[in-house]
Symmetry: C2
Subunit: 308 residues, 2 copies
């Protein structure tokens, strides 16, 4: 699905939030972990089942108030192929519940390998005469350090399947500056990455909101950069991590949106997933706690931007 | 295993080559594909089995002449979790055959997510009281666009398990220059990445060859950059893609080695894997063809460098 579908969901729910599904076993309420260990032993299968039950519970609690989910591949790879199998189930369940699904994979490699990654996550592979889908997300994140070769296959695959992607531009972590803030003439490295994102996007089609298929990841933790990038990339949808746990506040992310409150989605992972850890009920209330945290975040964002 | 183990294998075999295991179904001899489709139908399972048989055949043919293999994660992800399950089997089989295993994953993400990736590929995850390994490679590739946060967890995990990693510095693809060759003062972006690699490496232990645990990916297709980076990174093991199919020749990669012919490993993927496509025997000779191609590559490299 394109960014238009995401934007429509955001407008319906008046909520430009994406909930991260990044569960380590420590983030799952103890009673769910214990059940799974009792059933499957101290195995990856047990961990995968505990996390799957947790993911489904979170999605059940959020599906009418949060438009998108973002599973982070790393947390599934930790459990080997059992984790990847569970990631596929998580993506399928998310789609059934009506979520827009961003697979946070940050892949980046050259030509034929980029093509393989694009087919893996957005497309399908031909086996005999049958087209068989891979992880089948609506959208992915990619890393463009290797240049256009690494990104174009994703753009083409997105175009083919009416999907989309986000490329890293300005990340939210403290050491992002080491490389991304290098000064080259009158530009910074991330400015050049932003120009590349703009160029890649222009090779794709534009939706009714005037967004193309290549979005950008821009952290909430550098608000002035976020403001600048929103201005220079008017046709680029933004994925903004760093709200909440990493220190970004609603004021900081207000400038991610255009004047209609469009064109950006704000991520929260632990803030929603781990909300149960702050209520003193040992996780028995994880759904209610996640829902309350998501509603609070929604209202926090609504206080700084319209969503028209 | 550390780069010392890899260097020792290279010296034993007098061959600084790593064979890529990057199979798309099209690279597998038709008779193997047909067998798998007949047994499992037009499914991901069938594709995974065909590729696994191909990988094992290649490894059987190469294990006494090639010291390392490098499965590229993208080609396994194409087949969803069945592909990842087969990747785990491929890594296990490679270790049984004595190969040093480089998982080419080019992951890069921040803090806690980088930690999850590092545990996935080099370490283990704690489930109950049990430490359960993930993909358990000897070495991985990483992408440092996000800075130190994205790489340090891999360095720590490598140190903990006596393993190692390669960070992208100068990639072999044509569009690598778009970002990596930006001029910032008197340095290029990839020079700064090289300095970061050096800095990360210095936080790890050094082996008896004086190589630390953080290697660098430097493409064969930019030989003068390769020469410069070999000089400025004396304690950094190099992974050099781009030989063969991408245009790099033995003369181009000679400068990847130090004066003893140490400190670098040269990748060939399609050149070895797909050698059967050039013999006109429809793949029935894929093992012999791969072996002959690997021996030719070995001799080609030996003609430009000692291996002491």
């Amino acid at each position: 699905m394109s960014f238009e579908v995401l934007q429509n969901k955001i407008r319906e729910m008046k909520n430009p939030t994406v909930a991260g599904l990044d569960a380590r076993l420590e983030y799952v309420p103890p009673f769910m972990v214990e059940n799974a260990l009792a059933q499957y032993g101290q195995t990856r299968k047990a961990a995968a089942e505990a996390i799957y039950q947790f993911n489904c519970g979170l999605m059940d609690a959020l599906s009418d108030i949060v438009p998108a989910v973002k599973p982070q591949s790393a947390y599934y790879e930790m459990l080997g192929w059992e984790g990847m199998e569970m990631l596929e189930r998580t993506i399928r369940y998310a789609k059934q519940k009506g979520f827009f699904v961003i697979a946070d994979i940050k892949r980046g490699d050259i030509g034929s390998t980029a093509q393989a990654y694009a087919e893996s996550w957005l497309g399908s592979v031909k086996i005999g005469e049958t087209e068989v889908p891979g992880f089948d997300a609506d959208c992915v994140t990619v890393n463009g350090y290797m240049g256009s070769d690494a990104v174009k296959p994703f753009v083409q695959e997105a175009e083919r399947h009416d999907k989309c992607l986000f490329a890293l531009v300005r990340t939210s972590n403290p050491s992002a500056i080491e490389l991304q803030d290098m000064v080259a003439g009158d530009r910074l490295v991330y400015d050049v990455m932003a120009e590349l994102v703009d160029r890649w996007g222009k090779t794709s089609s534009v939706d009714s909101y005037q967004f193309n298929r290549v979005g950008a990841v821009v952290g909430a933790t550098y608000p002035s950069d976020l403001r600048k990038l929103r201005r220079v990339l008017p046709h680029t949808f933004l994925l903004v991590p760093g709200y909440g746990a990493q220190g970004g506040r609603a004021d900081d992310i207000a400038c991610a949106f255009d004047r209609y409150g469009r064109g950006a989605v704000i991520n929260s992972s632990r803030g929603i997933m781990c909300a149960w850890q702050k209520t003193g009920k040992n996780g028995t209330d994880f759904k209610e706690a996640a829902r309350a945290a998501a509603l609070q975040m929604r209202d926090d964002i609504r206080s700084v931007t319209p969503i028209l």
